[in-house]
């Protein structure tokens, strides 16, 4: 029997005004009914275009130039528009990355779902609406009957994605294509959505193509995986084989770039140098050759074909890595050679920065004439912590829990509503004028969005010169020297001074941002999600760089991220935030391995791990529900609304931080997952909480 979906030698071009992007270049894939296929790869390698080619929904200028797509035996890539329309939404459903922009903002969700039904089924309006409510029930949307008349903006991000799924499933397609369905969502929600898709797949018996850049996401979900690189399939096999024994150097490199495994060893991460090639002029030979550490001359001359040594495991490489999978004979290939890093600096420096009972409320105002204050967003509520010289404190938590706000309070971009920030013993909040500006030098900020944080009209040189100019440091020549030096530090070529931000890649821009932060020789750097927008390979470059320069320059970091693995990899200590509160803090490993707070536990469980076995081992874990509004935070313990252990007291009494080890591990919970150590002299509830 033919597979459900068969893509053979698919080639898709996108015509630009002056050039042609060969976005998909000879992709062959197949998918059985009921099966989940994961497609992974770096940004720009053609995943989305492959998916859209199947749907024949290519952007303007895009068209299939070769190959075939067959659905249940029928060639759908050659159907005319009318016929293809009957396939879309009916035989194949699709969901997209950003659920907010992917829904029509001016149409009720009910109508949008009903539309899908009406397009393919001879039904009345009422019947279509009934069906809409039914599928909304199916995707776990409470009170679906009432909510069908609401608009997308009235839903939270996770709920919107559920609506998208409902829409895609309204006609019970045989195939669901999910293009990065969870990339825009929090890990906690991500887990819920992935589980939902999985569950529906099983219940409806459909096949799923799950497109993602995150190896963790597919580890527990996909039956088979295709790794894409530069418009081609680099390697494809079943999930467990791939994770256990990647054969393509690219796949291997992706694994090595993940901080998950290195978190314990704190080894240097492997980073793939350079960038994926420009698909307007794809290189000849193996497309990965330029970035491959094993590449030989042959790789640059001849193009490897996708072939397998065993059935079901194919890869396009002349010099595969990993172990040969034949008759138990394992041929060892040289593994990655990585220098071991010096272990994370030992704790014990003096306290460099202390946040004391920080509070930040953002007023919510109404009225354009006289701004009335009608409430406040409690973004940060009484948070205290310390960072010692040379250490890294990682802050994690769901989106909107106040991480960024803390960072901004520390660098002085926001004034706290209450509390103090002490730097080297001196109060930062109270200082003014020259003193303030001098202090500014010691704490610098690295922004999340490397693009938005660089003035598009300034060349890199000017960007780096600006801090020196502002602080009146050095002559122009001194400044030039220092700029060149700093570019060397962050690994940018000296010719970069003349380039504009848009002429850099994402990783390079982040390095530039880092260089700017370093220009004033700060002692503390607040890095707000510096790697969140980057591909794993680039992420590894930046993480490595941050660690290298920390040892080299004796920097102290406040590292903010929503990715626990990254935080754990980089930090000595971790603080977990929930809705403006610090709910747990302590040495990185202790917090990660033996969390005391149910929220921390939930976060850890939600984070996908690039290990199929570990993923399958997780059962019914994660955090339920969604983050409540910060304008009216829940009384007592703010987490209680989502906590599996919550009892009445949680609503009445706000838990305080209690010590859970002598190393400074603390958590604020009435029903911790492990018993607290007796309150002794090491920690008192009132004093600023010392961290290791």
């Amino acid at each position: 029997m033919a597979p459900l979906l068969e893509i053979s030698d698919l080639r898709t071009d996108i015509n630009l005004r002056r050039s042609v992007v060969h976005a998909v270049d000879g992709v062959t894939l197949h998918l059985e009914a009921g099966e989940t296929l994961g497609i992974v790869g770096e940004s720009g390698c053609g995943k989305t275009m492959t998916a859209l080619s199947v749907m024949n929904l290519l952007p303007a200028g895009g068209h299939i130039v070769g190959g075939q797509v067959r659905l249940a035996g029928q060639v759908i890539s050659e159907l005319d528009d009318e016929a293809m329309r009957r396939v879309r939404g009916n035989d194949i459903g699709m969901i997209f990355q950003d659920p907010l922009t992917s829904l029509n903002p001016t149409m009720t969700v009910g109508k949008q779902i009903a539309e899908a039904v009406q397009l393919h089924r001879e039904v009345s309006k009422e019947q279509a609406m009934d069906r809409a409510a039914e599928v909304l029930d199916l995707v776990g949307l409470p009170r679906s009957r009432e909510r069908i008349s609401e608009y997308p903006h009235q839903f939270s991000g996770g709920m919107r994605q559920r609506v998208m799924i409902a829409m895609a499933l309204a006609c019970e397609p045989k195939l669901l294509i999910a293009d990065e369905p969870t990339t825009a969502l929090d890990v906690t929600i991500q887990k819920q959505i992935l589980e939902l898709i999985d569950d529906l797949r099983r219940r409806l018996g459909m096949a799923v193509i799950l497109v993602t850049h995150d190896l963790g996401v597919i580890a527990g979900r996909a039956d088979r995986v295709a790794v894409m690189y530069a418009g081609k399939i680099a390697e494809t096999t079943d999930t467990s084989t791939l994770y256990a024994n990647p054969r393509h150097p690219y796949t291997e490199a992706l694994f090595h770039a993940l901080p998950d495994k290195a978190a314990e060893t704190r080894e240097r991460l492997y980073s793939i140098p350079g960038l994926p090639p420009d698909l307007t002029h794809p290189p000849s030979g193996c497309r990965f050759a330029a970035r491959c550490r094993y590449a030989a001359d042959r790789c640059r001359e001849e193009e490897p074909t996708l072939r397998g040594e065993t059935a079901g495991h194919e890869f396009a490489c002349f010099f595969p890595v990993g172990e040969r999978e034949r008759g138990g004979l394992v041929v060892s290939e040289p593994g990655p050679v990585e220098q071991a890093l010096p272990p994370a600096p030992a704790a014990g420096g003096a306290v460099l920065l202390a946040a004391e009972h920080l509070v930040k409320d953002f007023p919510v105002t109404r009225g354009a004439v006289l701004q009335r204050r009608v409430g406040a967003v409690s973004a940060v509520a009484n948070v205290s912590f310390e960072i010692r010289t040379g250490e890294t404190l990682g802050l994690v938590g769901e989106s909107g829990c106040g991480k960024t706000t803390i960072g901004r309070l520390i660098v002085g971009l926001e004034k706290p509503t209450g509390g103090a920030v002490r730097f080297d013993g001196k109060d930062l909040v109270g200082s003014r004028g020259r003193e303030y500006r001098r202090q500014r030098r010691s704490i610098q900020y690295m922004f999340q969005d490397s693009y938005a944080s660089l003035d598009p009209r300034m060349r890199a040189g000017a960007v780096l010169r600006e801090p020196l100019e502002v602080q009146h440091i050095g002559s122009r020549r001194d400044q030039d020297k220092r700029i060149a030096e700093m570019l060397g530090h962050v690994g940018l070529p000296s010719t970069a001074v003349d380039r504009f931000p848009h002429e850099f890649s994402g990783g390079q821009r982040q390095r530039l941002g880092f260089a700017r932060a370093l220009m004033l020789s700060p002692e503390l750097i607040v890095a707000d999600e510096p790697v969140s927008a980057l591909d794993v390979s680039i992420q590894a470059q930046v993480l490595n760089l941050m660690r290298d320069l920390q040892t080299e320059l004796g920097l102290t970091y406040l590292f903010i991220s929503h990715d626990l693995a990254v935080v754990r990899y980089l930090s000595n200590a971790i603080g977990v935030m929930y809705l403006g509160k610090l709910v747990e803090a302590g040495p990185a490993d202790e917090v990660y391995l033996t969390p005391a707070h149910p929220y921390t536990r939930g976060l850890i469980d939600s984070a996908p791990v690039a290990d199929p076995a570990a993923e399958h081992a997780k059962v019914e874990a994660g955090v339920r529900g969604e983050l409540p509004s910060a304008i009216h935070p829940p009384s007592g313990c703010r987490f209680r609304t989502r906590c599996p252990l919550a009892q009445e007291i949680c609503a009445e009494v706000e838990p305080v931080l209690r010590p859970f080890s002598v190393n400074g591990h603390q958590a604020a919970c009435h029903f911790p997952l492990q018993p607290p150590v007796a309150a002794d002299a090491t920690a008192t509830a009132s004093a600023p909480t010392p961290l290791p």
Binding site: R86, R88, D98, N104, T106, E115, H120, Y151, A368
Partner: protein, 315 residues
């Protein structure tokens, strides 16, 4: 929604205050006295003095302002000695006719501008698009009065299809009773507007067509037609509605030219005559009224916007 309206209303009051101050100041910029201009060349000094006193122009500016505001608050928009009627009566007589013109013109221009703008967006960079782009730029760049007069020359003088001037009459009924007389004024009036709408619609539709939700609709299997009319249309309309509200003052301005060229007995014509005659009270009254209308129009546009855009409705 009501809270929002109340807030907008508060804003409007403040705006109105500024408007009254600005207009009064503007009008006092006139050289010589208003009375002298009103009385004409035969007036003697004594007569000027008498009338200055009669109309209170000999009092300090702020007193005049307060008096005027007091009048306004009592619904008294003043009296036109040139026309021998109260400004309110004048407005009651002429405003409805202008509204007819503006409405007809706007509707006609929207009827053409919206679909053609959509057509252009869908068929962008084709010959049809270029031709229509040319037409709309012509609409932008040609002085209204020039278009109007050429229309008269072509359609009224050269080939007698339409009358050269607008219907005359005191009431809307009389105006509407002569629809053939409305053709040329309405065409001339809608041309510029057409250019505006079609241009905006084109770019708005183009923006919307690349939105993710359009891709979603296509992924559902919706036809291009459905995508366009069922999804893109309404979202694109939102920007047009805002624009409609914002362009109210220029709608009124456009009407002045049309009314002057076609002798259309509306408010614009009355305003123009008042300016020529230095008929202060009419100028003041009309400006305030036009402002109120604009503010109301903006408010209506906001409501329309809210109706179209649920994101605003529920805030």
């Amino acid at each position: 929604m009501t809270g929002y309206l109340i807030r907008r209303f508060g804003q409007a009051l403040i705006v109105l205050f500024f408007v009254t101050v600005i207009t009064l100041l503007l009008i006092h910029l006139f050289p010589g006295g208003p009375v002298r201009a009103m009385l004409g060349p035969r007036a003697t000094v004594a007569q000027v003095r008498i009338f200055n006193h009669l109309y209170g122009y000999d009092r300090p500016l702020y007193i005049q302002y307060l008096k005027w505001i007091d009048q306004l608050l009592h619904g008294n928009l003043g009296f036109s000695p040139k026309l021998n009627m109260s400004v309110a009566a004048l407005i009651a007589q002429d405003l409805p006719k202008t509204i007819v013109l503006v409405l007809l013109g706007t509707i006609v221009s929207l009827l053409f501008g919206i679909p053609l703008g959509m057509y252009q967006a869908v068929k962008r960079y084709t010959v049809g698009d270029y031709v229509l782009t040319g037409v709309s730029f012509l609409g932008y760049a040609t002085p209204t009065f020039f278009i109007a007069l050429l229309l008269v020359e072509w359609f009224a003088v050269d080939i007698h299809i339409f009358p050269p001037f607008a219907p005359q009459g005191s009431s809307v009924g009389q105006i509407l009773a002569q629809p053939q007389g409305l053709v040329l004024p309405v065409i001339a009036y809608s041309f510029v507007l057409y250019a505006l709408w079609s241009r905006y619609m084109r770019s708005s539709v183009m923006d919307n067509l690349v939105q993710d939700y359009v891709r979603t609709a296509r992924a559902k299997g919706a036809s291009e037609r459905r995508v366009l009319w069922g999804h893109v249309f309404r979202n694109s309309l939102i920007s047009i509605v805002t624009l409609l509200g914002l362009s109210l003052p220029s709608l009124v301005a456009g009407a002045i030219f049309i009314e002057v060229v076609f002798n259309y007995p509306g408010m614009g014509l009355a305003f123009f005559n008042a300016a020529e005659d230095v008929d202060f009270q009419v100028l003041l009254g009309f400006t305030v009224l036009a402002t109120v209308a604009t503010i109301l129009g903006n408010l209506l546009a906001d409501i329309g916007y809210a109706m179209l855009d649920p994101r605003v409705r529920y805030n």
